[in-house]
């Protein structure tokens, strides 16, 4: 069955083995001695890439030397100028952070020698994160291991780690979109216990207890209805809200102003005026693809604006009514009459690239799209949208404005191993200056009101109605309960059903009325399955 072992073979085999081992030893020794040691351990590439939002294609850029449209603040229009400006202010912020930390009353070195594990997603802030980690290690003597993984994997692994209390990550970076998943089963430490401890926290340095945080965001950190009263579980880093991104140059050309995008009815009329495929641009687009964070992300704002709640207080489906049909009908009109072909299947990648390549006159999505259109690293200088996209508050409906928000935070899981050391990290990097560092790296999405006027931050905000929009959006238009997935752990399943309904309405397979009627019993089934309904 098997050939006889060869004695000659053994000798050649030994020769091979010796050769392999010798090569390995020599190569290993060479690389060990040749390269300097002492670099921070970082896992996964901290890419020096220029790609920002996930999946977006990198467009080649050309340096624009003209100063055709000078903005009042002389916002940089070339890669080099923007990078130089950012570096200048980032360096200044880093120095200020370090000084403020040293001047604070915290004994940073009290946990020297411990190690903490962080989990982060790949993104534009990676490089800054690594710098901050290095600063932190120098300051405290705590070793920081950062696990950087793509977004979906990071969510899966961090969630599993928090929920199973396996203690891999001491201070994972968590998405508030899933806050209830962690808070409902009580898997996160309430952070007041660390904040109120004078040995661990200098309150003036960190300012975490809602003094310098927008109320809507502070409420989110408590994650009602699951969080204990008065307890907060998250340290906010940055916060997305929805808004209406629009082409200022086209508005000027057609004599339109912010009043023409004040309500959804106005937007519908404006979209009709601006829908000129022959000139290369369409009136409007939002997300259309099936998926809880896709078309439902856009649609939820509209539902809320028309007073349509997905579930009522008793967890019964509450969307299958006249207002719901009106809302869905409006979106279907916008997406089928005034949007580019194929928009009914668009993900956020598509809305982003359409916005930055100038295909859209208006785009309802996160306000980030506006900043990216001003970023020469992301948008081609010869694109019609370059430095021409402004942003405004989300349009209002009969029931008001609802800019769905979601954010990214630090939290300390119950199963973490070095909680106090993790808290020091959250304090350092989640203090106002720490937060400013992350957000200034790419997106001005500050959860703290005082930062908008900071001398190192104000120059980095594109002069596109950004500051005014974001400040008032945070104050008035964003509410924790808007998005079902925020506060209901099973919310994403419900949203997925609705997303399928919206998609069939968008593609014309069902009318809005039929789509909502189709979704209602399915949502009720889900609520029954999880015990919310009898």
């Amino acid at each position: 069955m098997v050939s006889e072992p060869k004695k000659v073979g053994r000798r050649t085999f030994l020769n091979y083995a010796i050769a392999v081992v010798a090569t390995g030893v020599i190569v290993g020794a060479a690389t060990y001695f040749a390269v300097p040691k002492g670099v921070t351990t970082v896992t996964a590439p901290g890419a020096t890439t220029t790609v920002t939002a996930p999946g977006a294609t990198v467009t080649t850029t050309k340096t624009v030397t003209t100063t055709a449209t000078q903005t009042t603040m002389q916002y940089p229009r070339t890669k080099e100028a923007l990078a130089a400006l950012r570096n200048k202010h980032l360096t200044s912020l880093k120095n200020r952070l370090l000084e403020a930390a040293k001047a604070s009353s915290v004994d940073w070195k009290q946990f020297s020698g411990q190690t903490i594990n962080l989990s982060y997603r790949t993104g534009p802030e990676q490089a800054v994160l690594q710098d901050v980690a290095k600063m932190f290690t120098d300051l405290t003597g705590i070793k920081v291991n950062i696990d950087i993984t793509p977004e979906n994997d990071q969510i899966t692994k961090a969630t599993a780690d928090v929920l199973q209390e396996t203690g891999i990550y001491d201070c994972p970076w968590l998405d508030l979109y899933r806050a209830s998943v962690y808070v409902k089963p009580k898997k996160l430490e309430p952070l007041e216990q660390y904040y109120e401890d004078p040995k661990l926290t200098d309150k003036d340095f960190m300012k975490w207890n809602g003094t310098d945080i927008y109320p809507a965001i502070w409420e989110a950190c408590n994650c009602p209805p699951w969080g204990e009263k008065g307890m907060h579980y998250f340290v906010p880093l940055y916060w997305h809200t929805q808004g209406l991104n629009f082409r200022k140059d086209l508005f000027d050309e057609y004599g339109l102003s912010l009043k023409d995008i004040d309500s959804y009815e106005d937007v519908l009329a404006t979209a009709q005026k601006l829908n000129h495929p022959e000139k290369g641009y369409y009136g409007f687009a939002g997300r259309g693809a099936v998926g809880d964070s896709m078309n439902m992300f856009s649609m939820t704002s509209i539902f809320n604006a028309y007073g349509v709640k997905i579930l009522d207080e008793n967890y019964k489906p509450a969307f299958n009514n006249d207002s719901g049909v009106t809302a869905l009908d409006l979106y279907v009109k916008l997406m089928t009459k005034y949007a580019p072909p194929g928009a009914v299947n668009w993900t956020f990648n598509d809305t982003l690239s359409a916005t930055t390549t100038g295909k859209l006159a208006m785009c309802q999505d996160v306000t980030i799209w506006c900043y990216l259109a001003w970023d020469p690293e992301f948008t081609a200088a010869d694109s019609p949208a370059f430095c021409n996209v402004w942003v405004n508050r989300i349009p209002k409906g009969p029931a008001g404005r609802f800019a769905c928000m979601s954010g990214w935070t630090y939290a300390i899981p119950r199963g973490a191993k070095n909680k106090k050391a993790a808290w020091l990290w959250a304090e350092f990097s989640g203090s106002p200056l720490g937060v400013a560092l992350f957000d200034a790296a790419k997106f001005p999405e500050y959860p703290r009101p005082a930062l908008w006027d900071d001398p190192d931050i104000a120059p980095l905000i594109p002069p596109a109605n950004v500051k005014e929009t974001k400040m008032i959006t945070f104050e008035q238009d964003s509410h924790w309960g808007d998005l079902l997935s925020n506060w209901l752990p099973e919310g994403s399943e419900v949203m997925y059903i609705l997303s399928q309904a919206v998609s069939s309405a968008l593609s014309g397979q069902m009318t809005p009325k039929e789509a909502l009627a189709w979704a209602e019993p399915k949502v009720a089934d889900i609520m029954k399955k999880y015990g919310y309904l009898k």
Partner: protein, 294 residues
């Protein structure tokens, strides 16, 4: 001493040692399976306490269209992949057998894909299939084909999975066929040539009977191994886009880790195990005797 030995044809000590691996394998390998059956009777969401619900999970499973699609997808994949690899393996293996010069060089080079770490295979092929910078689209472009978004469209993603699997495992089949053919004694062949048999007749009358057991070996191993497929689809697409490359293992994994439903995930695991057990037993019974002659 001799009398003791005559009573038993084996020392008791060795008998115990023989059972040790079996015991270990059962405890460490099969024990978890029993745990999985236990959890499948519960509604167990990650982070929450399990709630006993009896066979409700199984009732749900019978109506789960997505799981059914996943099972059908996996079986189709198994059949397609095994057939393609069998055909390629037979052709190439026969070619290898026929050449006179270079056998050892070719065998050396051909065995490389087979031992290439599957996870790394996924990484490398994902780079090669990149729509903008990947070499595959580049070479296709030379033939006038427009760039294809391999991994982001359902049909092409599935084709990619099949293609990569063929790349990795057809060399396994080639080497099996080649080893098998090389072991054929020369006498019957020479006798047939003397009797005036042509190439094709030679192939059909003489070689085929030797090839049959090889085919069975290939079918046996490739079918069983391709049912378990996980590494390459997971690394390349995580089971997407949508559910187009969610083979059963990936489906179960995603149920536990993305939907956080441990109870239902365990139910799927039990079913996967039973399916695998069933057709392994069937294959074993029909083919096992041919392969191992026992």
């Amino acid at each position: 001493m001799r009398n003791v030995k005559a009573k038993r044809p084996y020392p008791l000590f060795f008998f115990a040692l023989t059972l040790l691996p079996v015991l270990y394998a059962y405890i460490v390998g099969f024990g978890p399976f029993l745990l999985m059956v236990y959890y499948s009777l519960f509604h167990f969401s990650m982070g929450h306490n399990p709630i006993f619900i009896g066979i409700l999970n199984y009732q749900y499973l019978l109506t789960d269209r997505d799981l059914l699609n996943s099972i059908i997808l996996t079986f189709s994949y198994m059949v397609i992949v095994t057939t393609c690899e069998l055909v390629i393996g037979l052709v190439i293996g026969y070619c290898l057998y026929k050449v006179r010069w270079g056998k050892s060089v070719f065998t050396l080079l051909i065995l490389l894909p087979m031992i290439f770490t599957p996870a790394v295979t996924g990484v490398v092929w994902r780079i090669l299939l990149d729509p903008s910078y990947g070499h595959i689209n580049f070479y296709l472009g030379l033939l006038g084909v427009k760039p294809i978004e391999w991994l982001t469209k359902p049909l092409t993603a599935l084709i990619s999975m099949i293609g990569v699997d063929i790349w990795q495992w057809s060399s396994f089949v080639v080497l099996i066929v080649f080893s098998g053919l090389s072991a054929i004694p020369n006498d019957p062949i020479e006798a047939a040539i003397v009797d005036g048999a042509t190439g094709f007749q030679l192939f059909r009358e003489i070689l085929l009977p030797y090839i049959k057991p090889l085919v069975y070996i290939v079918i046996f191993f490739r079918m069983i191994d391709s049912f378990k497929v996980f590494d390459i689809p997971y690394v390349m697409t995580r089971g997407g886009p949508g559910l187009s490359t969610s083979f059963v293992s990936i489906f179960a994994y995603n149920t536990v880790f993305v939907f956080r439903d441990i109870g239902y995930g365990c139910t799927i695991g039990v079913v996967i195990f039973l399916i695998a057990y069933l057709f392994t037993t069937v294959l074993m019974r029909r083919i096992g005797s041919i392969i191992w002659g026992e």
